[in-house]
């Protein structure tokens, strides 16, 4: 029963909260109403059995609580009607807080979840606040769970969430879907936030385990919701494809001893064929649409990797071409680094090192790890050891550190070029 309630909660909490924020015009009140509905469920369901439609039951109960509350507090009715008229496009000027009009206001509309995504990722909030708020309000995660996932004290995370909510309220942040002119920028913030949640789950920046299941799963779940709500935005589909194709390889990224395994050495039979199939389908759809963007190109790169039956079969020419395309849109050093690695695989380590020559990422662990690998293959061992030492110094993740230490050991026993 507890599991079932949890599952329903995870599925419905974000949707209910999104609608109730619109109805009540207040994030905290909405969270309270949803929590109240789940508390009633936790009490009644074990006695009476699961209702036929648990999700609908929760939504209806939370809605009814909201309506009761709105009717009890008439000043709030005026406030939320005003807020509603101000912030949503489909305004009915004759709407009254009575009867059917009120019921219509609290109808669950899919747009509410989109409104909530754009609110959580409002550009007035810092990226870490956007991520925390997205997980709290859309993901329905407890503050303590979010804190654990980011290895932060609960008080720190609680303060971050409270401040973000207060900032949105004090600033009168609107609850709406951005208009066409601002949509690209605002959508990018939403996508970046979801991807940050995914990568945080995929590679924990600190701590023992290389992968943290909850955050990655949560990011994919939110990504799927967004893809349902905005099926015509190619970057939304690109992000989902990228996450699915990365996720497909997850179980092969760590060996039996918990040490990291690089792509070339991963056991491809452990890759998840259904995720790969779904991801490839989405990438194909993006290609047909032909409106490339950063997430779609990264998904295409992941698709080339997952397309290769063995590492040796990888179409590196295709990958270099995709990185060229990505660099043209996003000329940043991290893209240049990944491109250099691909060049190193296609044309040999010296070509890779040449491509890396103008990249300056001295505080970035993957830069030193990639450089160390290219230097080892170019048999420039002294430089390789120095690069490994720097990479090890910069990593806080124990699985990655073990991997790098083994690579360093391997390099140290490689004969240097005469």
């Amino acid at each position: 029963m507890t599991d079932t309630l949890d599952a329903v909660f995870r599925r419905e909490a974000g949707r209910c909260t999104a609608t109730l924020i619109r109805v009540l015009g207040d994030i905290d009140l909405a969270e309270d109403a949803v929590a109240e509905a789940f508390a009633i469920a936790a009490e009644q369901w074990p006695k009476r059995g699961l209702p036929p439609n648990p999700g609908g039951w929760i939504t209806t109960t939370a809605r009814n609580r909201a309506i009761d509350r709105v009717r009890r507090e008439s000043t709030r009715v005026e406030r939320y009607i005003a807020a509603h008229q101000m912030h949503t496009q489909e305004t009915d000027p004759d709407a009254t807080p009575e009867g059917e009009a009120l019921d219509r206001f609290v109808d669950v509309v899919p747009d509410d979840q989109l409104r909530l995504m754009f609110l959580c990722c409002h550009p007035a909030l810092a990226a870490d606040s956007q991520v925390a708020l997205t997980l709290r309000l859309l993901g329905g995660l407890e503050t303590s769970e979010i804190a654990r996932a980011f290895l932060l004290p609960e008080a720190t995370m609680a303060q971050r969430i409270v401040r973000a909510k207060r900032k949105l309220r004090d600033n009168h942040a609107p609850y709406r879907i951005p208009g066409a002119d601002e949509l690209p920028d605002r959508l990018h913030a939403v996508l970046a936030s979801i991807y940050l949640i995914y990568t945080e789950g995929h590679t924990a920046t600190a701590g023992r385990a290389l992968t943290r299941v909850d955050l990655s799963t949560e990011a994919i779940r939110i990504g799927r919701v967004l893809a349902t709500l905005m099926p015509d935005e190619p970057e939304v589909i690109g992000l989902l494809a990228l996450m699915l194709l990365t996720e497909a390889r997850r179980s092969s990224r760590v060996d039996a001893h918990g040490s990291m395994v690089r792509l070339a050495n991963q056991d491809r039979s452990r890759w998840d064929p259904s995720l790969i199939e779904e991801g490839h389908g989405l990438v194909q759809a993006c290609l047909r649409r032909n409106q490339p963007g950063p997430f779609q190109i990264q998904a295409a790169i992941a698709a080339v990797h997952t397309d290769a039956p063995t590492a040796a079969d990888t179409d590196w020419a295709q990958i270099v071409a995709l990185y060229d395309q990505l660099y043209a849109i996003q000329p940043n050093p991290v893209v240049a680094l990944n491109r250099a690695v691909a060049v190193g695989a296609l044309d040999g380590p010296s070509a890779g090192l040449d491509a890396l020559a103008n990249v300056n990422l001295d505080d970035y662990q993957p830069y030193h790890a990639a450089r160390a690998d290219l230097l080892t293959r170019a048999e420039r061992i002294h430089e390789a050891i120095t690069a490994y030492d720097r990479a090890i110094e910069l990593t806080a993740n124990s699985a990655e550190r073990e991997f790098l230490s083994r690579q360093r050991q391997h390099a140290a026993t490689t004969p240097s070029r005469p």
Binding site: M86, P123, L168, N171, H172, P174, R176, P178
Partner: protein, 115 residues
Amino acid sequence: MPQYLLSVWHDEDYVPDFSTPDAQRRVAQVAAFNDELQRSGAWVFAAGLHPASSATVVRSSGDHVSTTDGPYAETKEQMGGFWIIQAADLDVALDLAARAAAASDGPIEVRPMQG
């Protein structure tokens, strides 16, 4: 309707000199922006300030009043002027702030007013 303070920030040693072509261009830009604010109804108030070195800090404790020279905060950047605007919501305010930043050629801090 919510009101917001849009403030303009300068280096502390900034001295307004309206004789340069650059400054005159800015003055014209800000004047045009002010006209636009007034036309759209967003305008509440606006003012440019004399340099921070012209400021005096007054403190009161009990019967005693002390007066000291200089701005309150010894920071590298000081407020050089401000607008008070009214806007339907934060996004409208941020949009106006973007235009204020373009008109004044500098960063604009947006802060909601209480009430």
